[in-house]
Amino acid sequence: MKILYDWLKEFVAIPFSPEELRERLSLVGIAVEGVSETSAGPLLDLDLTINRPDCLSHYGVAREVAALARSELRPLSVKLAEVSESAARATRVEIECPDLCGRFTARVLRGVKAQPSPDWLRQRLEALGQASINNVVDATNYVMLELGHPMHAFDMDRLAERRIVVRRARAGEKVRTLDGVERTLFPDVCVIADAARCVGIGGIMGGAETEIGFSTRNVLLESAWFDPVSIRRSSKTLGLRTEASTRFERGADPEMAEVASRHCAALIHELAGGEVLAGVVDVYPARREPLALELSRKELLRVMGANVPDGEIEAILGALGFAPRRTDQGRDTPDSPLARWQCRQPSWRQDVAREADLIEEVARHYGLDKFPSRLHPSKQPAARLPYALAEDRLRERLIGLGYHEIVSIPLVNEEEDALFRPAGVTPARVTNPLAEDASLLRSTGLVSMAHALAWNLNRGQRSLRLFEIGRAYRLQNGAPEETRIVTIGATGLARQQGVAESARDYGFADLKGDLDQIGALAGRFDWNPETHSWQHPSRSGKILLASAGLRRVGGSQDPELGRWFVTVGNTVIGAAGQLATRVAERFKLRQDIYLAEFGLDPFCNGFGLARSGRKYQPISRFPAVERDFSVILNDGTSFAAVREAIAALGIAEIISVEAVDLFRGRNIPPGNFSLLVRVTFQSPEVTLTEGQLSDFSSRIISALEQKLGATLRTT
């Protein structure tokens, strides 16, 4: 809403400059976005909250100014020179739908001369962003801006039988509105009709056929009141929002209908001449007594926590039109804690209907800055989210491993999401997306990760490590479900070229190693070779979490990377691998991309179990001894098989089995590969003797030979 400073001054003395007024109004809840200079003087641009339709007018804002400046608001009065002939004889008004239209007033003006408006009027309207049309229409707009009540003027000679019927629209009924658009109505729309047809959409926009033109002689001036919900619904459905509909849907003042009509008739008479018929045709089914409200100091103190003096309460509520009256016994005791006031809801403040609302009125005009600040002690211990610690550790480890956290918008492209979607997952779609590319709630975080990688690669950032802790969405038996997930994406170099180091590409082993370090927080990650279609067929797998019943056997050197566990159960919690070429193409990703995703909740559960089960493992005082075995194995033999063959020997002194080198070719026969296995032995009780070690070694060699057909390689 735009307000002219000089216009306000017609209703109230303002002891402030426009800039001061801006600040003062803002502090009572009438937010002023800015002050500018116009040909009609300084203009205040208000950003009103929706509960204050009364301030969609100069008079309404003047009332707030009067209350905050404790000055007098000029009462509304107008002299209307009427002829003796009564309006009631010239027209008739019927309301068939009182639930939609609570009041309809009609005034009749005869013999007017519609013509361009005078300069002062045009200037004000234009300063406020209203185009000037003719003096009659301009008068309705002017009074709307002045008093807040929307009105409509009909060319009376074009109304069939010169009468008004307010009714529901008939199914399929059409009307051409003032903006020239033909609109099809529906039965919930309140229409203004004459004896024959619809001539306007009630409270929203008049019809073109009865529009005031320069040939208009006789005018029927409508000033009505419409139900806010019905106006809002119609305006939304019709996609038609006007100055009038905005005021009615927020709640116009039904009492103002007649007052505004009188002011408007007087203005039309002044500008366009002619004569005003006596009286007003007023059908007012929604008339009701003003709501009685009560304010007690006890409640004010309970809500606000500090006192407001009697004088302030009475001055504020009085200025705002609530007519406060002290009703308690101790009327003579100033600021009594038992004080009560009886108030009356003004017709323009339907938003104030409860004691709590009255308290707000008092507080905002008294000044929120006058209430002291206090902190209140907590009666309960504070708690973080149940998984906060697991999430902290996970995030901290990922960051330490070089991954940057991303946050993405989980609304994605449906086809792209399908590339990553696990079998059997029903995605959750949005009925009213803003764009096709954001029409579906992602079923995995991988699609967002692919986009984040692509965004950076397209901007010359070639080495990337990213992660996201977010959610995935799906429908489960028709109901939406949200799952917390961790997504990882990497590409480019694992190590940059520098004066002290050579460059190395990020590869599957980097991804697996990083994931295993993360898995160690929650027990251990296990891997199986199943792949999804987004994954590269040879460089990917599923991630299993081995956590329940976790127990270390033999004691590892590195407790976080302990390789010997007894696990009670492994659950698939995610997948990892290189992105399949076909999918990478879809995102125009032109270098090898590595992705992984796993469930956060099972991870956090595993974290909790691992943490509670973690016990100190005594560190042996006796030396650990390493033995290397260089063996030639058939292609297809896994390292796990090697480890299991060694573990099956049950040698308690083995504390780790590691693969330290692997190669094919050179002098290795085709179909075979060479593996260098490093076994570390240590006893918690004794120093191992050469005899023991060579016994262990020969048992290991014969196990590998017999179980895996390995050949010991001699160098």
């Binding site: 909250t49 509960n51 809002r232 209140h376 973080r384 946050v407 997306p433 950032q461």
Partner: protein, 429 residues
């Protein structure tokens, strides 16, 4: 030359021709004299000084050797008082020689010359002076000899140390690393700025006893709107344009929550006062994206309800938060506003930290910046959760995490948060 001289001297001593050697070497036709006329005077300017020093060194060497190859008696020393003078001369010569040692080689030569076991100066003195001296000279000669030996040993040791230190220093200087070269930078990641702001907000409210809770992003209209006093045709819904979910016919309608406020209702349904929670999370509004709007953004909802909470506690809490978050210089003002689920409602403003209240573009020349909305819980909300609205009271607030991060770090475009450009992410380690 020195060795030629020593050979000469040795032979001469054996044959008793000591004087001849002295005249040959120190006489007018002796080698030093010839060096002076043939080398030093004819040498170019830059070598002249060096040559003349070498020549003096040779002379003193010859002198010492001539002296120490004779007995004291031969030198005409027969009274103890004459002894210290002899030693004093030697010491002076030694001191000047040691001064000229600049490296290990020089020092090695000097050391052999003075301390050499057979033909060193001190060995010569022991042999020629001490052993042959008369009883009355022996004591003082012994004392002087010991004192000279101690001096020579100490001086050589000291010189040795300073030469070693100098050599090591030179080696270190050669191997000195270039501190301006970069070290090996292991890649390290970062927390997203939105996450950092979440954590900052959490930290502040945890310190005030607020418990953190989370809720679903997909909500029912009841929790997102109705139970927060926003009935179906309320104009407030216009400010929260909503995404709805496409569900099978007959399902309960669901939407993407437009604020984190639904958790107020969920929490109060489950728990009686006192309640003190914050709710971080993602929210969605169907707004076209621009520099200040994203259709997904982040909020932290706060709610405190008890039997004794008033506007003053609300104000104190909000002001505490703003000071903790923006710094102790931040000033707060509460400006009346409107939200359907709070009454009174306020906008919390902070004084503009760009212009310090004087007025600038950021604050639209008002001197104040709108931070977030808040207020006392509207009694109507208590009705939805079966709280006694006459007995309890409380406050709620909704912090826009992205907006607060934008303000705090001067980020002019909210889209930067969700593009995930590493050049942006790296700026907030």
């Amino acid at each position: 030359m020195k060795s030629t001289f020593l050979a000469d001297l040795k032979r001469a001593t054996e044959w008793g021709q000591w004087e001849r050697v002295r005249d040959n070497w120190l006489g007018p036709a002796g080698i030093p004299a010839r060096i002076a006329t043939n080398w030093v005077q004819k040498a170019p300017q830059n070598l002249r000084h060096l040559l003349s020093r070498e020549r003096e060194g040779l002379i003193s060497f010859i002198n010492i050797r001539l002296q120490t190859s004779q007995t004291l008696e031969q030198l005409g020393v027969n009274h103890p008082d004459q002894v210290p003078g002899r030693f004093g001369d030697l010491r002076k010569i030694f001191d000047s020689e040691i001064q000229q040692c600049i490296d290990e080689v020089d020092l090695g030569i000097d050391k052999t010359a003075w301390l050499g076991r057979r033909s060193g100066v001190l060995a010569q003195i022991t042999e020629n002076w001490l052993k042959t001296s008369s009883p009355e000279l022996k004591r003082v000669t012994g004392q002087e000899l010991n004192s000279l030996r101690a001096h020579v040993e100490a001086a050589i040791e000291e010189r040795q140390q300073s030469i070693t230190a100098a050599a090591e220093g030179a080696a270190l200087a050669r191997e000195r690393v270039d501190l301006s070269l970069p070290g090996v930078i292991r890649p390290i990641g970062s927390r997203h700025l939105v996450r950092q702001t979440f954590e900052e907000i959490e930290r502040i409210f945890l310190s005030l006893g607020f418990t953190v809770v989370e809720g679903p992003e997909i909500e029912t209209p009841y929790y997102n709107f109705e139970a927060l006093n926003i009935p179906e045709h309320h104009p407030a819904r216009d400010t929260m344009d909503t995404f709805y979910l496409d569900l099978p016919p007959g399902s309960e309608p669901h939407l993407l929550r437009t604020h984190t406020s639904p958790m107020q209702v969920h929490t109060m349904e489950k728990q009686q006062p006192p309640v003190r929670i914050i709710v971080p999370g993602k929210v969605y509004r169907r707004d076209n994206p621009d520099a200040t709007h994203s259709y997904m953004f982040h909020q932290v909802e706060g709610l405190a309800v008890d039997t004794d909470i008033t506007f003053c506690e609300f104000k104190g809490t909000v002001e505490y938060f703003v000071r903790e978050f923006l710094g102790s210089a931040a000033k707060t003002r509460l400006r009346p506003s409107y939200f359907p689920f709070t009454e009174p409602s306020v906008e919390v403003d902070a004084n503009c930290f760009v212009c310090m209240g004087k007025g600038c573009r950021l604050c639209k020349f008002s001197g104040w910046i709108e931070l977030f909305g808040a207020g006392m819980v509207d009694p109507a909300v208590y009705g939805f959760v079966n709280y006694d609205s006459a007995g309890v009271s409380g406050y709620a607030f909704g912090l826009g995490v992205d907006r607060l991060s934008q303000l705090k770090y001067g980020i002019d475009d909210v889209q930067l948060f969700f593009q995930n450009d590493v050049r942006f992410l790296r700026q907030f380690p």
